[in-house]
Symmetry: C3
Subunit: 262 residues, 3 copies
């Protein structure tokens, strides 16, 4: 049984977590499914933006505790399996960051632990007003240490630590205020709001988006002057591309650009 | 005369600045008192969370200007004493960050200069609506340079520079909006709100909290991929602890966990 | 024709972008004008704060696309000219950060691309309610890669990426909420609000402001313990200056300080 559905429609690659009975837990199989779908989107020349959503009432409950617990019966008390899970999960999250395409989370319901990490790892996120964000590992003796890598790169220390130390849910409204998501909207408006983003993104040159997204995360880890040197070089290279010449020309001539590299 | 009161009650270690006549100035004696109390809390096996509050109308006025001025009469014009003060203060602030227990600031009144730094250095902070946060060093020719280390790691550049360059107070409401504190509430609700946090924190495994808090600040200074490698290792080690096995087991069996390491 | 006006009035150095017909585009000539004016302010002993504003309905439209396009006719397809533009622009932005004086942006109208970068690079920013902030490079095939260096150091990832990936404008109100500017006010209140800031800044010791601003940006790029060591040293040096002795003395004696180094 595949735990992921994916399909492409009008240049949008939809990746849907589809294990509602297990609240879309990020089991090894689910993580591999996401990883493969991200690779598929990377290969697909029609794909220009990725939307991650989920079937069922929960966006994702995080790691699969039953699977982790079952692994405790092995000789190493699960160490190898836990390590594999953490590495795979970290690799999937970084695959989103490093993906050539923007990735948007479409959230209805709870995003918990590694599920919250998934939201934090996406470039953009839209949630229904009744969604919740929670890092409850502390309630089960297992601090949300990998989720906090993504969380703490999105929100300020006090907001991150409130979620991590108390294990209490953060409302969609609060998540918008603190920068964890872009917008909290009525449940029936989530798809339309995501479409507002995807409509704009698919209208751009995919080459330009790829250059920009990659440079964004790279420069964010550099000291200021190094970041400027790096981004100046990136921008000159971008300027010499056909799509920049076309885009600037179209702008000056007040016509729509025709992207070569869609 | 001790400048600090401390007591423990139901697993909460209360550390109270108790020099209201000097507006709880962070003199050498006060800083040593805080440092010793933090050590005491570290040794106390019943302590599971620390609350820092203050007696009198001011939370803390920052460094003791009379003490600093008196030191100018020495042969080195106070340099050795100033250096000792700065190092001790920086050490106390980092002792909070590095403490095994979460530290919550309970603020009523003004938190000024190093007093504002103390708030920024705590993991969580709750303030009364009439509290003020201010870095007024610029008004007396002495820029709040060490306070800004903590401040700038909590709020964005423009917000930090507004406080630092103008020396004007920031209201509790604004402090909540910009991420300097978690919550601004009515004066009579501060203790209850702090209790909301402490109740939740003392219900967790102290071992888990210790692992998580330490990892939080460590990973926050790492590049993304290094942070993921580090936190993956932390999380596997955490998973192999008794309290994680108990916590996950209790969750799956729908019962309350019995922590070994409280 | 000079593209910049500058004048000094009551210790405030006003730097005004003055090419409204070209929407204050940041051409080579404009960038050199800004750079020279910043140098001039640095030399001027009466200058204690810099205000950057603009004539005409736009604050700044960013790089001069006509100038960049004209350069494509050269043998290297413009590479040398693009590189010169990027380096000059990056140098101007860093000159603001490294300037001894605080720099305040006074914005009425649109701040686009490198114009938005200019706002993000200032220490403080006040905008009229109808101002807009936009990084629209993605619409013309040229990602706003150097603007994002400044933008991403002011706002959180999701907010920065929303602007960068969609190319849609951010309202002044939203810019205030996300930390890109300090205040959005009615158009007729912008000058008064800027004056609120300049009044306060010119009342301080310029030596103190210089020490503090420089230390702020330096420490913000350091790990925590290094930042504390560095700022402790800065603060001891500051304490030994005449203006700190005067300022602390005046405070303790409840009189106005007389700064030596205005």
């Amino acid at each position: 049984m595949a735990l992921i559905c994916s399909n492409i429609e009008e240049n949008v690659f939809y990746l849907t977590l589809d294990n509602p009975n297990r609240r879309n837990a990020l089991s090894i199989e689910m993580l591999e499914g996401i990883s493969n779908a991200l690779d598929e989107a990377n290969q697909n020349k029609d794909a220009r933006v990725i939307v991650i959503s989920a079937n069922g009432p929960a966006f994702s409950s995080g790691h699969d505790l039953k699977e982790l617990t079952a692994a405790r019966n092995s000789d190493d008390r699960g160490q190898a399996f836990f390590t594999k899970t953490m590495q795979l999960c970290s690799s999937v999250m970084q695959k989103i960051i490093n993906h050539r395409l923007p990735v948007i989370a479409n959230i209805r319901g709870i995003a918990s632990a590694a599920g919250c990490q998934l939201v934090a790892s996406c470039d953009l996120a839209v949630a229904s007003n009744d969604s919740k964000f929670i890092t409850p590992g502390v309630n089960i003796g297992l601090f949300c240490s990998t989720p906090m890598v993504a969380l703490s790169r999105n929100v300020s220390n006090k907001h991150a630590l409130e979620m991590l130390l108390t294990g209490e849910p953060c409302s969609a409204q609060k998540a918008e205020e603190i920068g964890l998501i872009n917008k909290a909207v009525a449940s029936e408006e989530v798809d339309n709001t995501v479409k507002w983003y995807t409509d704009r993104i698919i209208a751009k040159s995919t080459m330009t988006i790829k250059i920009g997204k990659q440079a964004y995360y790279n420069q964010s880890q550099m000291p200021l002057s190094e970041a400027y040197d790096y981004c100046s070089t990136v921008m000159v290279e971008n300027m010499l591309k056909q799509d920049a010449e076309e885009g600037i020309g179209a702008f000056l001539e007040k016509r729509h650009p025709e992207w070569q590299d869609k």
